[in-house]
Symmetry: D2
Subunit: 287 residues, 4 copies
């Protein structure tokens, strides 16, 4: 992969990171890279923007540098996946699972990338569809997870989980999270799910506060077609969230189908990168 044009994606609409963006742009230009600002970057920050161009993204940039936290990274990753553009995440002070490069390490990381001392990690995305009878009411992709949760209700919800058409279980709980390995250290972890090495070909289905104490997280093949159906909500609609953003309301008669997305997203990893170091630091294992 030859890298000559870089998209610089700033933290969503954040006006205060202008200096950091300027500093990174300067560093990139010093390395003879053309820089275009990505759509998440606040328009208050000066610079030529991707949006000024009509061409497909893949013709405009070879690499995306995301400057923000894991949230910005998730949002950019979902968009880049279909263009097959690799991304790298720079954090603004607080280490992220995805934005795991400190600003002051960007120079060294960039040199490593430019000399080819990197590899690409293909990360799985989820495609979630909400079907009602024969119609598809909603379709969306997510990097971390798809979650169904009870919404404005004090009571638990009920639903069935089916895997490749087979009945897995009937659950009464606050909801359920279907997570990729990337998402295993996000919401699913809080719900009791395991940590999963990011490139493994699996999904994890984690019930949220299940009534039956033996309803434990289940690791399934990432080729599995997972369905949440026969939903019963006591009081009000439930919510489907993708990567922590509500995607649509559920009324109970829908079927929510979750499967591996057609596209993956490409995370650039310089070869000395160590995922375990991030784990130790984020989860406080070093003390």
């Amino acid at each position: 992969m030859k890298i000559s044009k870089v998209g610089l994606f700033g933290k969503f609409n954040d006006d205060n990171i202008g200096d950091t963006v300027a500093e990174i742009r300067q560093l990139l230009q010093h390395n003879n890279l053309k820089v275009l600002l990505g759509g998440t970057t606040s328009t208050a920050i000066d610079g030529e923007r991707l949006d000024d161009h009509k061409q497909p993204l893949a013709e405009l940039i070879d690499l995306a540098i995301v400057v923000g936290g894991d949230g910005t990274m998730l949002s950019v990753a979902r968009n880049l996946a279909k263009h097959n553009i690799p991304a790298i995440g720079i954090n603004l002070g607080r280490l992220g699972f995805l934005a795991d490069i400190a600003v002051h390490d960007l120079g060294a990381s960039l040199r490593a990338i430019l000399r080819g001392d990197y590899h690409i990690e293909q990360r799985t995305l989820l495609t979630t569809e909400v079907g009602l009878q024969n119609e598809i009411r909603y379709r969306g992709d997510s990097v971390n997870d798809a979650a169904i949760s009870k919404g404005n209700s004090g009571r638990l919800i009920e639903f069935e989980i089916r895997v490749n058409g087979q009945f897995l279980s009937h659950i009464r709980s606050d909801g359920v999270i279907i997570a990729t390995p990337t998402g295993s250290t996000a919401y699913s972890l809080s719900a009791g799910g395991p940590i999963i090495y990011p490139t493994l070909p699996v999904f994890i289905v984690s019930p949220i506060c299940p009534h039956t104490l033996s309803n434990r997280p289940i690791v399934l093949d990432h080729n599995a077609h997972i369905e949440i159906a026969s939903m019963v909500f006591a009081e009000t609609p439930a919510n489907l969230s993708l990567d922590g953003v509500i995607a649509c309301k559920l009324h109970g008669d829908e079927v929510v189908r979750v499967r591996k997305a057609a596209e993956t997203w490409s995370m650039i990893r310089i070869n000395q990168h160590n995922h375990f170091e991030t784990l130790r630091s984020k989860l406080g294992w070093n003390e």
Copy 2:
């Protein structure tokens, strides 16, 4: 305690339990007890009703017999607490933690009660107040728990827990449950809380899917004044639920104060009653 008048509280608005109610009434009348139907009982079921009388409840009945599940029992218990009338719970087939007497055992239980072979368990109630500046916007009691949960949001909420004015912790989670020992086997258990013997003078504070994995359930003195404050909700209002029913919306600038209610409620226990037997059966320990 002399028992001569009994309030019979049927499952909330359920028309189908007329035969069971009739059968129980007959049994009670055979034992020379006067029977009045309580407010939860469907008006489609015949009989003299408590609502037909103007006197205070404590003059009308000496004992409440609740025929339903734990939900009906919770609702009746909240109301009886201030009148100091003891209650006993009959289930309609499915054993409850509170409604733990089978219909076919009612005769024996009743004889035991009438011959004085029982004791009264005082169960703690919670009083929850929602304060905004110097005003109290909401006040309500609950038997099991008070829960703050994130509502229609895909993101976690943030809040502080204070105990007797002292800062305990800052939590990022889906919410938090403050439960009585009675409620320890309900929602709190699903959230990872311990089982608490029902008459112990403690509360349990269980975070729901906390982001920080060491935010574990905490058992506090039931005289503690617990405050949830400095709440931050990403998208939409959060909910305060009492015993699984939404009591009010929270916007973030309120302080939610939870403490022991002034009244307790009295649960009649025939002396041969065994709480551990209910635990084993409900939690599947017998297999």
Copy 3:
């Protein structure tokens, strides 16, 4: 696969299952199958035995039928793996995860197998080696798990986990379990590990009662080389157990290496078999 000779492996040294063994043998012979009794079968039970023959096992039998519980199945599976002989498990009344066919269903299952209505599930085995300096002190295989546990000590042990030579974490705990997907529903589940679909290419590393609450189970690639090293035991030697049987004592200066075994074992699954049904039944999800 043509099946004409069957090894019948009875519950280890159990004299009381003679009738069941006789009944099954009769059924097999009715189907024109030659039957040889496997080594686990009590010698008090009559019949021609595999041990009476000198040939390699693969020449003597095409299929192993194990009559016992999961324990017997584990033991037979370890032995059959190197001979590539598929096995099927019949339970003696109590459903197992491996011995999941009831005696009274054996006839139907057998007919399905004989007409080819089955598939073979390849299940991963673990090979565990205990190295001391350049020497290998112990090597053994297991179907469910390899566990290091503290032995006769009231204190926790310390150790490092390394994956493919990289440092993963330093743990202080009662021990650690490395489990296959098959073993995910055994000891690892009790230690808080997830349920893993049996054929997935992963291992799970579950710490036992870790001191640091964020030391959660981790799912790794089944090609990973996992090392437990830098072990510190306060008082007494620790134990390495394979499938719940102590394999050797550890003194702390060893390195325990766990990786996928060269052989897998073959589990026969009639096509209508449903793993989820076993999960639901074993974990009490049906109630």
Copy 4:
């Protein structure tokens, strides 16, 4: 309480803390306190020792200052309980739940104590007896917990828990921990138990890796008589540990009885002490 004589208990047999001990002694003597070295202090450290005197401890010292970690504190506390001498814990750099005063804060804490600006927290101890038929084979006290664990075995153990003579549950697990509130942040926490405010009148019974997933920690009255009986150990004896030290071997036919000790131990708390601060720091809630 008038304080004029202080026992100084150093970390068990540690020769390297001579300087710290000397420094603390000097501080105490400056405040006109007589100092005697307690039995845990290494004899390589100079000074008049408690062991040089024949009188009962209560006549020799008014206060114990423990310089070490929680382990030293546990050991001193068990001994002081019967003499009713209050203790305070100074840590050697690493904050403890009990040894929660930094050396450099000792001056301020001491002044607070000398001017009466403190209160005494009564902490419950456990008395554990091992009975065999009508004989008591072992009796010992503990501050944190009594634990039964499986010893040199790869298999789980079985036992019954009885409370005040009533059957609570039959458990199959790696063992069980009965903990005081003080011990709730030690071993029990690792096994999934809740955090309990230190002065509450309860015990917690936490199974260790229970086979049945609904066997959750149970909080009981501290006046409860807890019995572990009908023990079945597959291979080898199990262990009874008190505060992490093996007290005796168990062969299965014993009954282990755990109850509140006759004595409590007195922990001195300067009034500005904040238990929650220690919790936050020890459990990493501050980040």
